[in-house]
Amino acid sequence: MGILEVKNLTKKFGQFTAVNNISFSVSQGEILGLLGPNGAGKTTTIQMLLGITTPDHGQINYFGKDFFTHRQECLSDINFASAFNTLQGRTTVWENLVVSAHLYQVKEYKKRILDLVSYFEVGRLLNSRYYDLSSGEKTRVNLIKSLLNEPKIMLMDEPTASLDPDVADKTLTLIENIKKDKKVTILYTSHNMGEIERICDRVIFLSHGKIVAEDTPINLTKKITTITLRLTFDAKKQVIAKYLTEQKQQFEFSRENVVIIKTQEKLAPDLIFGIKSREVWITDIDIEKPTLEDVFLQISRVK
């Protein structure tokens, strides 16, 4: 049984279907990436999972319990972090965290706050007004808030947006650590495909409110069989152009002695040997395999 189970979740706003009958589950300790272009239904899904938007149809179960009838019980073990969600701007970082700790009934909250503050290196900001912090500092404080109750499941909506690379890397390391040490389940959205490939065990692609792909990041990239072959050569380019035309390949010359060929992965060795057999001296071979970003672009561009 999954820590989070979503069945036939649907949400319409008038004639517009934001989320269209989606079902998925997340197991304990798993990090599930929720990807999709803007307007795909990611935010509405997260809002429903947090209980601040009511679905039209469907069921949400956390820890085997119906979310709508066990709201308080479920929310005690859930938390949310987003770069776009802010705390109370007028009050200080410390005051905001104290309030949140009380909302989640955190025991020994002062120690818990100070431990997290120390990890995220925001000790000097404790007495600053939240409003006065930079975007990166606010994101770090939001992350501290989301970890206060040691949640069993965390919903993270682009938590590293606006963080500098060093802090973003620390945040990802922290996410990896809490997953490993505490078996925390995480539902993660980001537009940074590198992050998704690094930390997610599984990815769900949403498009127009529907799940259009679901797999591990590696398996998803395997679904794209096209690779990019970049060959640097020492010969007349007409020889290569003639051969590739005969082979019905898509290609272009980026420089006088560099050709870029988009081809099926399995055809790459034959093409390389074929070009060599035309007395062409290949000085460099570079193969670009498809990334999650390619998968994202491919899915996003399908109407």
Partner: protein
């Protein structure tokens, strides 16, 4: 009900007050100014119509602050979090709506009690009028009724904000003023035209203000007025809660609640 979560909102309110001059202005300075203005008007009326009419004005003005401050505390308290885009953080925590409003009733009651004490002292020393002459039991019963009404009114406003967003935020501090003339705060109901008297008696505070005025001439608890105020208040608070529940559900259904964050 969790004491900790109620305490969280109370701490939140306390921290907000510490950092917001506007709140101090709206719940301390502005009400005190109103009492000072009406207090001097009272002194003026002492000369014209005798002590009773002046007492009516001062009692009404002081008691009105209980409604005004408590409902302001509930509705503007919620708006601060809408403006700061912090409302989601509160409502994705395990807090229940009952805990949330319980905290705001406590907070509103404490703020209005503080103001009431301050206004009473001011009234004694500056305007030579002691509101305690109405009697402790009377004041307690007035207080309960006025807090109940303010709570009911406050949650109606919060319900409207949740449903329609911050574009109707002015209701938080202005809507109560629209109904004030009907509640016969500083004048007896009998002054109103007959048709307006019918409307006036629909509001629980009308009975409280009538009871307060009656107590000046005839000391003691005005049970008939208090009983009616309490009865209507129970119905009003129940209907307010139903209204809020409808608005809150509609807001979450339409996606407005999540969009309150801007």
């Amino acid at each position: 009900m969790s004491i900790n979560r109620i305490k969280a909102i109370l701490l939140h309110e306390m921290f907000m007050m510490r950092h917001s001059f506007e709140v101090i202005n709206d719940i301390v300075i502005y009400p005190l100014l109103q009492i000072v203005i009406f207090g001097f008007l009272t002194l003026y009326l002492f000369g014209l119509n005798g002590k009773t009419a002046g007492g009516y004005v001062l009692i009404g003005t002081i008691l009105w602050q209980i409604i005004s401050i408590t409902q302001y505390s509930i509705s503007v308290g919620c708006l601060w979090d809408v403006w700061s885009r912090n409302l989601t953080n509160i409502f994705i925590s395990p807090i229940s709506i009952y805990e949330y409003f319980t905290a705001y009733i406590i907070s509103g009651t404490l703020k209005s009690l503080f103001m009431f004490v301050l206004a009473s002292i001011l009234s004694i020393y500056v305007f030579h009028f002691n509101i305690l002459h109405l009697g402790i039991i009377n004041l307690f019963l007035f207080y309960i009724n006025l807090i109940l009404f303010a709570f009911g009114f406050g949650i109606i406003v919060v319900g409207l904000i949740f449903r329609f967003g911050s574009r109707i935020q002015a209701f938080a501090w202005a809507m109560i003023g629209i109904f004030q003339p009907f509640m016969a705060v500083i004048y007896p109901v009998s002054i109103l035209p007959k048709s307006l008297q019918v409307i006036s008696y629909l509001f629980p505070p009308t009975y409280v203000f009538e009871a307060a005025r009656a107590s000046i001439a005839n000391p003691g608890v005005q049970w008939e007025y208090i009983g009616k105020a309490f009865f209507i208040n129970i119905i009003f608070v129940y209907l307010s809660m139903m209204f809020f529940d409808r608005m809150f559900k509609a807001s979450k259904k339409k996606g407005q609640f999540a969009r309150l964050e801007g």
